[in-house]
Assembly symmetry: C2
Homo-oligomer: 407 residues x 2
């Protein structure tokens, strides 16, 4: 299913994003609000990092309560992670202030924070900022784009997309916004991603759709092998489309799942493409695997390898590193059976065939590697399953960005 790169606001949602003073640069927005006019069902996938930021702990509680919610508040420039007991209190104040501005309860508000770890949140700035931004809530697209901009940290572009399709007899809109772009190596959860839809669906089914989708989208990208303390994806469904409720198994369910996957995959690829310092999007597909889980493990091992990533940056068809990364991926396979190809708009070059190195054209390999979108195709020749992972190259700029992030 194809996404639109436009931002279309689903029915019954409003958004806002503005600079409130957490980031030093006044041109950079740092607070986003996403609000549903009526209470919305929601599902979340939260980081598996043992060290969880204050908003993650809060959202776990809100999720366990099982009630509908009204809003998401998200600040950038400060992760409110490793901030001790003060951080927990500040997070609750963020939820309470947002609720007060919306006439809601604090446990109807999800909270997200992203930015530097271990610095106390300037809570007075944040509370005043929420009061300033809440009156700016609007249901048109520029307000949604402003929200997408306000959750950025080292991202170089705002990430959002939309799908509209007929579900339950009505046009349903699914719109997602997300941010990267460092500490990206999701594990059973993701970086920040918010998906809004006016579809009508139960919490249980929304949760099932989200968890399945996360496995093949956000969990299949890596920028640097570091899993964040603040990872989360949240999907809100408010039913404002007036569509009939989605039930499991039918055509509407399949349609919704396909649309949600398309939105999540688009956002995940955007995050990989915009990895810190990235100059190329790297797509690694492992096929011929005995099962999907092994194909996922191997494709992620290759896409996460620093040596593969630096070779991509150097535009060097160093396929030995690809094979080495397969080999330590934690899956048993027969090295004498595997084949490796690289491809881009410039063509396809075969590097290894059934375990024997190919006598390939260095000129063709160089032409293939020069492009911005590089595909690595690995065939284990041992089954019918496959998986795709996305990542980026490792450049001087990754080192520059992260050598001086905090100060």
């Amino acid at each position: 299913m194809e996404v639109s790169t436009e931002f279309v606001m689903p029915k019954g949602f409003q958004a806002a994003g503005a600079h409130i003073g957490i980031k030093k640069d006044t041109d950079k927005k740092d607070l986003a609000l996403l609000v549903s006019d009526c209470p919305a069902e929601f599902a979340v996938a939260l980081t598996t990092n043992v060290v969880k930021a204050a908003p993650i702990i809060w959202n776990q509680k809100v999720d366990q309560a099982g009630k509908k919610i009204k809003a998401i508040v998200c600040n950038s420039g400060n992760a409110n992670a490793c901030t001790g007991s003060a951080g927990i209190a500040h997070n609750e104040e963020m939820a309470a202030q947002t609720a007060a501005c919306l006439g809601a309860q604090k446990n109807e508000v999800l909270v997200a924070s992203t930015g530097v770890i271990g610095v106390t949140l300037p809570i007075d700035v944040v509370k005043a900022g929420i009061q300033k931004v809440a009156p700016q809530l609007k249901s048109y697209a520029p307000a949604g784009i402003a929200a997408a901009e306000a959750i950025m940290t080292t991202d170089s572009f705002a990430k959002y997309c939309t799908i509209q399709t007929v579900i339950g007899g009505k046009i349903v809109t699914i719109t997602g916004l997300a941010k990267g772009s460092g500490m990206i190596h999701p594990n059973m959860a993701t970086m920040l991603s918010f998906v809004l839809t006016d579809a009508t669906i139960s919490k249980a089914l929304l949760h099932k759709a989200l968890i399945d989708s996360v496995q093949v989208s956000y969990n299949m990208i890596s920028v640097d092998g570091d899993t964040s303390t603040n990872d989360m994806v949240a999907v809100l469904a408010n039913g404002a489309s007036g569509a009939a409720e989605i039930v499991e198994g039918g055509a509407d369910w399949k349609n919704f799942v396909d649309a949600l996957n398309a939105v999540n995959t688009y956002l995940a690829k955007s995050i990989a493409r915009d990895g810190e310092g990235a100059t190329k999007l790297l797509t690694v597909t492992v096929k011929g695997s005995k099962n999907i889980q092994e194909a996922q493990k191997l494709s992620k091992s290759v896409v996460s390898s620093n040596l593969v990533k630096t070779a991509m940056f150097g535009e060097d068809a160093n396929w030995g590193r690809i094979v080495a990364a397969l080999g330590y991926g934690g899956v048993a396979f027969d090295p004498t059976k595997i084949s490796v190809q690289m491809a881009s708009d410039a063509g396809v070059v075969s590097l290894l065939s059934s375990g024997e190195p190919c006598d390939f054209s260095e000129d063709l390999a160089a032409a293939v590697m020069k492009k911005k979108n590089i595909e690595v195709l690995i065939d284990l020749n041992d089954g019918l399953s496959w998986a795709t992972a996305w990542g980026c190259d490792l450049s001087y700029d990754y080192v520059r960005i992260n050598g001086s992030y905090r100060t």
Copy 2:
């Protein structure tokens, strides 16, 4: 136990190293021979990478045969990995040629190769080279140093050390030589490291000493998270000291194990310090752990984090990244109990105390980070076990070196 940074040749061993034409630069040695005058007991630890280079497959067979050996032949500049059936044949020819020059059997020769993966070994050059180098075998130190130089790839200095101690009533010498410096993230095995000793010890006991030692030395370093296809460590013990045979449990056994650990730890730290592009040695100790295995997992997770490594390069006391890396290390712990300090010759700075961020001096932190040897001290406050891991920072030069390694 303190090592000497001199190269002292153990009794009954000879070495040689020279340029034979695998590397383009004629100033760079690329073939090493290590030979025992009499057959020596040996033990090896080989890579756990599923994709094993031809020499690894060969050494497995030699090891399983259980007989004593006479020599190690090692080339640099070509890994003879992913070279298909031709690579297997070339490796056997290397062993046979070495054996022929020494009047030995080919299954008395261990083989090691290091360098680029997936390029056919120029076997005629290698065989002629072995014939050229064998007559240069000498028992004095410069020959050993030449061998240490001949196994280097992107290493910036040759790595070797010696311990002499009284075992079995005689002076016993243990001398190790090793190479890094990329694709370093050993897993139950190591990069290339050869340890020679004139101690008298059975194969079973030598194996036990090696496997235990590898766990706390080579397996606790990481340069880039990539586990090589060619990793190996081999220990040869020829008994030429005339010392009584070491038996398990006594003072001699303890002395030998301590000395072997000291040699291996010194070489492992040298490899970390000389990681590709490294400007700093990073030492991460996790204490207060329930058991050693968990402390090892957590300390390796921190030392392997790209974000921690770039912060080190940028001399930025970004301790939040340390805590994030602990959190995804695969071990459950209580984040509200942990403390984090950084230390160097310039002092000690406390960053996190029992889960609460410290109000630390940025000036002191900057002074600590400016040094070449940075220690990170983490206390889980949950037990009595500890472990140390070693690594290096991630610099522009890592990207430069690996962006253009193959070509």
